[in-house]
C-alpha cells in the first residue's frame, strides 16, 4: 500500500481548507443557529447613564408582557451569590448586573427571559429603573485626581488600580540625561473594539434530569471557561460541558466571561429550560471587550550619529469601571515589556499606572499578544520621531540599531529572551522590494511641487505564544496546551486540541502537522476543537498562541505515535527496532530499501497484529509546556499620498515582509496577514471608541464605528523571510497578529512623513481626514 505523494498535503503546502465546504454551503453552525427544545430568550436592560445610583427597579410591567417568564436584577444575583464575578486575572471583581449603582453607560442592569426573542425585548423595554445620576469620570487623567471615586465598593478609596514597572529606572534616567539627542513625546493608542461580525452569545442548558449544565458559547477558550464557571458557581467541573461552535471571528472579543453568559446560566438553572442570549451590535460595541486605551509617554536617547542609548516609556492605562483586562496573572500590563522592539537598547525602563473610569471594562488582546500592539506602536513611532530629530533616514536609523543576527538568543533589557531573527535581512528585503531609494527620490521631487507623499516603515518584534508555565497563568491555570491524536485501523484519524479556531483554519493546519509527522494524508485527519467533553485541556486561541503552544503539542503527540509505530514496524518487518529507520514518510529496515511499511499499514497492524508486549492501538496525548515565547518579526513599508486640500490619505502601496518561522500553510499565512493588515489599517485611519464629556458612548453601531469596506482597503503585497524558532518542535512562531501589531505604526509613520514638510510631528490615531485636514490648517496658521 503506497502513500500518494506524502508531501502534497503536509507542511509548507498551500492546501485548500478542510473547513470551507460547510461554510460555502451556508452549513456552518454558529451559536445563533442552534435551537433547543423549549428554549427561552434573554434580553438585557442597559443603563442610559455612565454613573448613576439605582434607587429602585420595578419589574411589574415587564412581567406582564405575554411570554415573559422572569426578570432578573443585580439583587437577585446577589441572593444567588453571583452578584459579582472575579475578573480575568483575578485581581478585581465585576458586577454581573448593576448592584447599587451603574458605573458605565450601557452597563447591564437587568435581564428579561421570555418565550421569544421579541417578547424578551418587549419586556426589557418595560423594566422601570429609577436612576439618580452621579457625575461621571471619563478621562483617566481626571480619574487620577480622585475627586470622584468610581468604585466605592473597594477597600482603597481611589481610582488608581495598580502600578507596574520593569527595567532599570535610575540607569535609564541617567542615560537619557547624558544623551546628546533625546525625544520625549506623548502618544495615544486609542480605545477600539475587535468587532467580530458574529457577536457574542450563549445558550445555557441546565438539564434537571442529569444535573449537567451545557453551555453553547462563543468562546475562544472553552476549557478555561469551564473551570471559571465551576469555580464561580460551585457546580462540579464534571457537571459542566462547554461547547464552542463555529465562531464568526473573535479577535480577542470572545475571551472574557460576560454578564450575558452568567445571567442566561442563572436563568436556565432557575427556570429549568435552555436560555439563549445573543448580543446585538450595539451591545457588542458598548459592553463587551474593548481594547487598548493606553496613553504613552515615550523617551528615547541617542548619540549624535544615531546610536540609541536608552528607552523609557511611561503609560497611563484606562481600564474602565472594572479591572477586567485580559492579561496573564503575573503580567498586569501584558507583554508590554516588548517595547524595546527590534532594537539593542543598552538600558530601558517602563512603568504603567492603570485607572478606573466610567467606561465599559475590558482591555482585551485585540488581535494582539497582550499589549504587544501598544508597545510596538510606541517604539516604532518613537524611532521615526528620533530619526526626524536626528535628520536621519528612518531605515538607516533602524539598520544601525537592530539586534544583530549573532546576538540571538538575545536577552532584552526588559526581561525577554528573543529566540531568533534576522532583522537586517528582513528590512533590507523590504527596502529592495519597494525600491526605497527611488521612492525617496520621487518624494523629494514631489515635495518641490508641494505634494505630500510619505513613506512609513515599521520593523516590529512580537512576543507570542503564552506561555511557559513558569511565567504564565490565568487565574492560576498554567498556560500550556494540549493535543490528542487517535489513528484509526484504516489509517485515518482524529486530532483534538485545547485551541479553538475562529477562522484561522486549524482544521487544515493541525492536520497538516500530523500528516507531515506521520506520512498520512491530511485529508484523512479530522480536527475537532471546542468541546470540553472530548478535547484535552487547553487554554484556547488568542495571543497568537495556537501554533506556538498547541502546534507544539500536536507535533509532539504525533512523534509519540511515531515512536510506538516504530515498535509495530519492527514486529511486522521482523527486524530489530534498532534497525528500523523513518525514511521518506515510512519505516524501513536500514540498508534494505525494499523492506518497508507505511503508517497506514502500521495503523491496521496496531489493531490486528499488535507487537507482543506492547500496548495495542495507536493513540497519543501530549501536553506541551513551551520553554519560551516565540518572537515573530517583520518589516512593513507603507507609501501614502496625502491630499493637502481635503486631508484624505491614499495608501498607494503596502508591503509586508513577515518572518513567522516555519510556515505550515503559506496560503493561510498570507490570508492571516491580509486580514490583520486590514484591521491595522482600520485602527490607523478610522476606528475609535469615543465618549463625550458626559460619558455618552459615541460609536454604538457600524455607521459610527467604521469597518473598512472593499473600497477603502488597500491592496496588500506580502513576502517572507524565515528564521525558525530554535525551541519550537516544528520551528513555527505564530502569525495571526503580526500584521495588526506591526501595521498601525507603518501607516502613521507614512502620514507623518508626508506631513513633515509642514512641521507636523504627530497626530494621534485614527488619522481621519478631518484630523489630518485640521492639522494641515493649523500648520498654515500664522503663529
Amino acid at each position: 500500500m503506497a502513500i500518494d505523494t506524502p508531501e502534497r498535503h503536509s507542511m509548507g503546502q498551500s492546501m485548500k481548507r478542510k473547513e470551507d465546504p460547510r461554510f460555502i454551503r451556508g452549513a456552518g453552525r454558529y451559536l445563533d443557529d442552534i435551537v433547543l427544545p423549549n428554549m427561552l430568550y434573554l434580553a438585557l436592560v442597559h443603563s442610559p447613564y455612565p454613573h448613576a445610583k439605582i434607587n429602585k427597579i420595578d419589574k411589574t410591567a415587564a412581567l406582564a408582557v405575554p411570554g415573559v417568564k422572569a426578570v432578573l436584577t443585580g439583587e437577585d444575583l446577589v441572593a444567588a451569590s453571583l452578584g459579582w464575578i472575579p475578573t480575568f486575572h483575578g485581581y478585581d471583581k465585576q458586577m454581573v448586573l448593576a448592584v447599587g449603582k451603574a458605573v458605565f453607560q450601557y452597563q447591564e442592569v437587568a435581564g428579561v427571559v421570555a418565550t421569544s426573542r421579541e417578547a424578551a425585548f418587549d419586556g426589557a423595554d418595560l423594566v422601570d429603573v429609577d436612576y439618580e445620576p452621579l457625575p461621571p469620570v471619563i478621562d483617566p487623567f481626571e480619574a487620577m485626581k480622585d475627586q470622584q471615586i468610581i468604585r466605592d465598593d473597594r477597600e482603597n478609596k481611589t481610582n488608581h488600580i495598580y502600578h507596574w514597572e520593569v527595567g532599570k529606572r535610575d540607569e535609564t534616567d541617567a542615560a537619557l540625561a547624558a544623551s546628546a539627542v533625546h525625544i520625549d513625546e506623548m502618544m495615544e493608542f486609542q480605545r477600539c473594539h475587535p468587532v467580530p461580525l458574529e457577536p457574542c452569545g450563549c445558550i445555557s442548558d441546565m438539564n434537571g434530569g442529569t444535573g449537567r449544565l451545557t453551555i453553547y458559547m462563543t468562546s475562544q477558550a472553552p476549557h478555561a471557561h469551564r473551570t471559571v464557571v465551576s469555580l464561580v458557581t460551585g457546580i462540579p467541573e464534571d457537571k459542566i460541558h462547554i461547547v464552542s461552535p463555529d465562531l464568526g471571528g473573535g479577535f480577542g472579543n470572545k475571551v472574557p466571561v460576560y454578564p450575558g453568559y452568567v445571567v442566561a446560566t442563572v436563568a436556565s438553572v432557575v427556570l429549568g429550560q435552555p436560555v439563549k442570549w445573543v448580543e446585538n451590535r450595539t451591545e457588542n460595541l458598548t459592553t463587551t471587550g474593548f481594547a487598548r486605551d493606553y496613553h504613552m509617554r515615550v523617551e528615547i536617547g541617542a548619540t549624535e550619529d544615531g546610536k540609541i542609548t536608552a528607552l523609557k516609556v511611561k503609560t497611563v492605562a484606562d481600564h474602565g469601571a472594572f479591572d477586567a483586562a485580559a492579561d496573564p496573572t503575573k503580567y498586569p500590563a501584558g507583554l508590554f515589556g516588548i517595547v524595546t522592539g527590534s532594537y539593542d537598547f543598552p538600558v530601558a525602563f517602563t512603568e504603567l499606572d492603570a485607572y478606573f473610569t466610567n467606561k465599559a471594562p475590558g482591555g482585551v488582546a485585540y488581535r494582539c499578544s497582550f499589549r504587544v500592539t501598544e508597545a510596538s506602536y510606541a517604539i516604532e513611532r518613537g524611532m521615526d520621531m528620533l530619526a526626524a530629530k536626528l535628520g536621519m533616514d528612518p531605515a538607516e536609523l533602524r539598520l544601525k540599531n537592530f539586534v544583530r543576527k549573532d546576538q540571538f538568543p538575545y536577552p532584552s533589557p526588559l526581561g525577554f529572551v528573543y529566540d531568533s531573527g534576522d532583522y537586517h535581512l528582513t528590512l533590507q528585503k523590504a527596502l529592495d522590494k519597494v525600491g526605497y531609494q527611488e521612492l525617496r527620490k520621487e518624494q523629494a521631487e514631489k515635495r518641490k511641487r508641494g505634494e505630500l507623499m510619505g513613506i512609513g516603515i515599521s520593523t516590529f518584534t512580537e512576543a507570542v505564544g503564552a506561555g511557559p508555565s513558569k511565567h504564565f497563568d490565568i487565574m492560576g491555570i498554567k498556560m500550556f496546551d494540549s493535543a490528542e491524536i487517535r489513528i484509526h485501523p484504516t489509517g485515518s484519524g482524529i486530532i483534538r486540541a485545547g485551541t479553538k479556531s475562529q477562522g484561522q483554519g486549524h482544521e487544515t493546519t493541525w492536520a497538516q502537522i500530523v500528516a507531515e509527522e506521520l506520512g498520512l494524508d491530511a485529508q484523512d485527519l479530522m480536527v475537532e476543537e471546542g468541546d470540553t467533553d472530548t478535547a484535552p485541556y487547553g487554554l484556547g486561541t488568542y495571543a497568537s498562541r495556537s501554533t506556538p503552544v498547541a502546534g507544539g503539542a500536536i507535533a509532539l503527540a504525533a512523534r509519540k505515535i511515531r515512536e510506538r509505530a516504530k515498535k509495530i514496524a519492527a514486529h511486522v518487518l521482523e527486524a530489530s527496532e534498532d534497525d528500523i529507520e523513518w525514511e521518506n514518510y515510512k519505516f524501513q529496515v536500514a540498508g534494505v530499501p525494499g523492506k518497508s511499511i507505511t503508517m497506514k499499514e502500521i495503523a491496521f497492524a496496531a489493531y490486528t497484529n499488535p507487537a507482543p508486549g506492547t500496548e495495542p492501538g495507536l493513540e497519543a496525548t501530549f501536553y506541551y509546556d513551551p520553554p519560551n515565547l516565540t518572537f515573530p518579526h517583520g518589516a512593513y513599508i507603507a507609501v501614502v499620498d496625502v491630499d493637502a486640500e481635503t486631508g484624505f490619505t491614499k495608501v498607494r502601496s503596502f508591503l509586508a515582509i513577515d518572518d513567522c518561522g516555519t510556515v505550515i500553510n503559506p496560503m493561510i499565512v498570507q490570508g492571516q496577514i491580509h486580514g490583520g493588515l486590514t484591521e491595522g489599517f482600520a485602527i490607523a485611519f478610522m476606528q475609535e471608541i469615543r465618549f463625550d464629556e458626559g460619558g455618552n458612548h459615541l460609536n454604538t453601531n457600524f455607521t459610527e464605528y467604521l469597518v473598512p469596506t472593499s473600497l477603502e482597503t488597500p491592496h496588500w503585497d506580502t513576502d517572507s523571510t524565515c528564521t525558525p524558532s530554535p525551541h519550537h518542535p516544528i520551528g513555527a512562531k505564530g502569525v495571526g497578529e503580526s500584521p495588526n501589531v506591526g501595521s498601525p505604526a507603518a501607516f502613521v509613520n507614512a502620514v507623518m512623513d508626508a506631513l513633515s514638510p509642514l512641521g507636523i510631528k504627530h497626530i494621534d490615531m485614527p488619522l481621519t481626514r478631518a484630523k489630518v485636514w485640521n492639522a494641515i490648517q493649523a500648520s498654515k496658521a500664522p503663529s
Binding site: L197, V707, S710
Partner: protein
Amino acid sequence: MKISVTVNGTVYERDVEPRRLLAYFLREECGLTGTHVGCDSSSCGVCTVVLDGERAVKSCTMFAVMADGHEITTVEGLAKGGKLHPLQQAFWDCHGLQCGYCTPGMMMTSLVLLKNNPNPTEPEIREALSGNLCRCTGYQNIVKSVQQAATELSREPAAT
C-alpha cells in the same frame, strides 16, 4: 399576517408578526441558517439574499411580509444537484473566506453582480461588494474569488 414566500424554489406559507424581519423568517421559520445577522443597522451585509433573482437585499432591513409573493434565493440555493456553484468553488479555491460568517452574503451579492456584469473589473467588484463587510480576509482573496467565478461562469453560461 399570512404570507407565502418562495425560498430556493420551495413555497413557505406562514403566519408571521408584521415586525418579523426577513432574516429571522429565513433562519427561524424556514430553518435556513446560512443567512446570518451581524449588525442590525443594514451595514454589514452578512444577511444578504437575492430577491426575485435580480436584487441583492439585506434581509435584516426587510420585513418578512414585504417578501410575500416574492422569490428569495439564499446561500443554500446556490449548489445544484450536489454540485457547487462556481462562486462557491471559487471562494474555496482562492481562500476567499476565513471564519465564514460574511461568506454567504458575499456570495449572494456577487451572484447579482455577475448576473448584471459578467466580466467586472476589480474596481467594479470592489464597488459592488462595498456593502458587505469582512473582518478576516482584507477582501483581496474575495475579489480574486469573484474574478475566478466570472471566468468560470463565462465558460459555462448554463451554470448561472
